[in-house]
Amino acid sequence: MLLEAAGITKIFGKLTALDGAALTVGANEFHGLIGPNGSGKSTLMKCIAGAEVPTTGKVSFVNTDITAFTPTERARAGMSLKFQITSVLPSLTLYDNILLALQAQSSLIDLLFSRTRDALHEQVMTMLTQFRLADRAFEPAAALSHGQQQWLEIAMALAGKPKLLLLDEPTGGMSLEERRVTGELLQPIKQHCSLVIVEHDLDFIRDICDRLTVLDQGKVLASGTVSEIQANKAVQEIYLRRA
Amino acid sequence: PAPWANAAEAPIKVGIATDLTGPIAYAGNADANVAKMVIKEINAAGGLLGRPLELYIEDTASNESVAVGNVRKLIQRDKVDMVLGGITSSMRNAIKDPIVARGKTLYIYPQLYEGKECTPYLFCTGPTPAQQCDEFIPWLIKNGGKKFALPSANYVWPHTLNVYARKVIEANGGEVVFEEYYPLDQVDFSATVNRIISNKVDVVFNTVIPPGVGPFFKQLYEAGFLKNGGRLACVYYDENTLNINQAAEIEGLASCLDYFKVLTKENPFDAKIQAAYEKDFPGNFLFAAGSAATGTYRGLKLWEAAVKEAGKVDRDSVAAALDHAKIAEGPGGPAEMVPGKRHCKMKMYTAVAKAGSYEIVGRSNGLVDPKEC
């Protein structure tokens, strides 16, 4: 298994946001994480990426225990996260945003003497073109609309060539057509990368994911292949229940 | 000025570098005013060596870095023949090198200070610890008591002065109960006041400076120090500093300086310069000893005497003459340089604050020796 998170509990004050949740993702697997609002999806993603420290539980990645790793160390181990709330670097250009993500793992010497810059240029422009942002490459990211910022963030998350990509609601604010395109853009990475994706749009999830995990009130309600989940009684129930 | 328009030779240039802005601007402005007055007077009397005097004033801004820059203007741009100024010791320290060593110019320092300044070509015309303590402390012991406290601001003047004062106190049978130093801007003295009261100190020989001194005296007063017969002593207290506290809070405070304004009642020459000063500069900047105004006057006059004797203005000739220069009249009386010492003998007065003004209670017999260098 590429990623194994087990027994993750996260307590905020009185609230137990995650209650022994678990998630396993294999190599080259696209894994969907679904559940009602406040069920702990984002919190679980953050615990995996290191943005939150779980109260208890263990995360291992490529057979190493990374529970005590900082976000930087996790990123260097090959994880990459797109936050639910977009957080691009507003006054830098789109180009620089991507470049920043691309060169993150270079050594200090490389950074100083810019040996990688030419090599990176092609990649930056390819990414931007793929995400239909190339014509705005030299504008500051702040000038993008919300949806465009989502694209940029996905591009940045992809740029680091991660082994595991964590996307928290990447298609928020996108139309059906735009979602479809996003799905297409994600497909090719399956060659070298696994994906955990949080989404509310079931159709989208169904289209691209191999397996699903359903969270409800901090607990894993069900986990399995798409068809297993669709047949699951408990899951159907929460879809009928109102928040 | 017109009368000099066709003078044969260029004017003699006098540089003043003093704190025109910043926390002690009141002193610096008074010094600058005195310089203007003296220069005007000399020029009115026909100048020096037949040449007019020209005054160059620069601000030292209580900021050593600004000061050094401005002093260089005096030396390098204006090429003055002499610089007088600097009020605090740190200022003197900062500017003496650009003036004397790098600038090869004569420097006169007019303020009362801690002594020990023995740099060649640097002449001091304000009182030294010996001049302020030798007669004053015995008076305090007689009129206050034997137990002294030495609360002080933490810088070189109090440190050095206290060493001397302690010697005199002990030589006269007194005792120093404690000697303590505070950051310069300390404004709360409850711990100190408590020690003074509980140790039954007779005399507080104070070298705390503003802004701390106001609250300090007030706290002492409120704790009943004066009521119980304690005596305040402070050797930089002059007319300027009287307003820091209400009269009652410093009733009986004793000071020892080379000049007090009350002397104008007994001394016609003092009355004359005081009147001339107030006529020209009626504002807030008082002609007072603690702000170096008297030292400035004395310094300029001694220098005038020296230039006259030397007959030229180059540094070495003037310094040689200034070494033993004398003036018969000055603020508080005559003054003369002690040969080889570059310090100045002068008369000293002990005065006591009564209801917001000073009363002279003691005078030195003749000129007091600075005992420096």
């Binding site: 507003p90 | 050094v68 900062a94």
Partner: protein, 374 residues
């Protein structure tokens, strides 16, 4: 403060009148406006002026100019940490002053004035102090907020000032006067043209190094740091290390400036480590324009020059006038004087060249060209 700096930054240009200079014709078909490159021109003009200055100025002004150049070096050190990495070092004087004190003690107690010993020593002292303070303030579990760092450094500098005033070995309030001149063999650097060209040379070298630094990809990492430290940590940057490194480099440059200053002025005094000088350097940089190296230099020159002139001509009220001028610049030119000639886009710049030009230009080592492709 939990408030993200990202949001604050984003608001700056719009809120303070600086138009968010988004060069694009229309929403869909955005095209970058061809921007003339003004920065190199400004740099060239300043350099030529600096080279000619001693020939045109009277002696005493050359001495003054020497000091200004040393202060410009100091300003550069602050600009590096604040303008480029977004670390608000409100205590930059601590490194400047401690190096000054350090070399003053070397000269006073050990008679060491050799330029090849004292300058490295001063630089090292600045570096060490910056590493210590920076390590304490910037490293740790939680990333430290800008306000915390600014007040932390300010307090550090304030405490150092008070320590210097209270410590007798350092001369207390009086500082250390009459420092012997810096020497090279039997030659002594006294104030004047030789000293001027010495510090100018040092400034140019340090400037070029800084320029290389901020335009390398390392500079991009710094820009990311300035924008949002937490975010770039998720890319895999060792954000805190980067911060500590740049802070230490800033300290080293400040230390070098401090030791030159001590020898040039011939004395050191507590203010030199204190809040007054710390604030002063911030003023230089903001006045000139932070985030451009040349802005820091221009700021130091203008602030010092104007104060010098004002104190000459408005002797009694010059601090007030200076205050008013500062306020006006901060109000109407929050991005500094440099923003009169430099657009926001060129200031923030981009680390990527546009594709077309990049093909044309095949310059290998020269970083500048790549960034500034016309």
């Amino acid at each position: 403060m939990p408030k993200s700096m990202g949001a604050v930054k984003q608001a700056i240009p719009a809120a303070i009148g600086g138009e968010p200079d988004v060069a694009m014709a229309s929403s869909g078909t955005a095209k970058q406006k061809s921007t003339r490159k003004i920065l190199p021109v400004v740099e060239g003009i300043v350099l030529v002026a600096a080279l000619l200055a001693p020939l045109l100025l009277q002696d005493y002004l050359t001495v003054f100019a020497t000091r200004v150049i040393i202060l410009a070096l100091f300003a550069l050190s602050f600009d590096l940490v604040w303008g480029y990495a977004g670390i608000m070092s409100f205590g930059q004087a601590l490194f400047f002053g401690s190096a000054g004190y350090g070399v003053a003690l070397l000269a006073r107690d050990l008679d060491i004035t050799n330029i090849f010993l004292v300058l490295p020593a001063g630089t090292l002292i600045g570096l060490t102090f910056a590493l210590l303070l920076g390590g304490f303030l910037l490293l740790g579990r939680h990333p430290s907020s800008v306000i915390f760092v600014s007040l932390g450094t300010l307090t550090g500098s304030y405490a150092a000032d008070r320590l210097a005033r209270g410590w007798y070995y350092l001369g207390g309030q009086n500082g250390i006067p009459s420092i012997a001149p810096m020497s090279l063999g039997s030659y002594e650097f006294t104030e004047g043209p030789a000293f001027y060209y010495l510090v100018l040379g040092i400034l140019v070298v340090v400037y070029l190094l800084c320029r290389f630094l901020v335009r390398s990809q390392f500079g991009l990492a710094l820009a990311g740091l300035r924008e949002n430290e937490q975010r770039i940590a998720f890319f895999g940057y060792k954000a805190q290390h980067l911060k500590a490194i740049i802070f230490a480099i800033g300290g080293a440059v400040a230390g070098m400036a401090g030791s030159l200053y001590a020898f040039h002025e011939g004395f050191v005094w507590p203010n030199m480590v204190g809040v007054v000088v710390s604030t002063q350097v911030v003023l230089y940089v903001l006045f000139g324009g932070s985030g451009t190296l040349i802005g820091a230099v221009i700021g130091a020159v203008i602030v010092e020059g104007v104060s010098f002139w004002l104190s000459d001509n408005y002797r009694d009220i010059w601090p007030i006038i200076l205050g008013v001028l500062l306020l006006l610049v901060i109000l109407f030119r929050p991005l500094g004087l440099i923003s009169f000639v430099l657009g926001e886009r060129e200031r923030v710049g981009s680390f990527g060249a546009k594709p077309k030009e990049n093909v044309k230009e095949n310059v290998k080592e020269d970083v500048k060209e790549k960034r500034n492709a016309p």
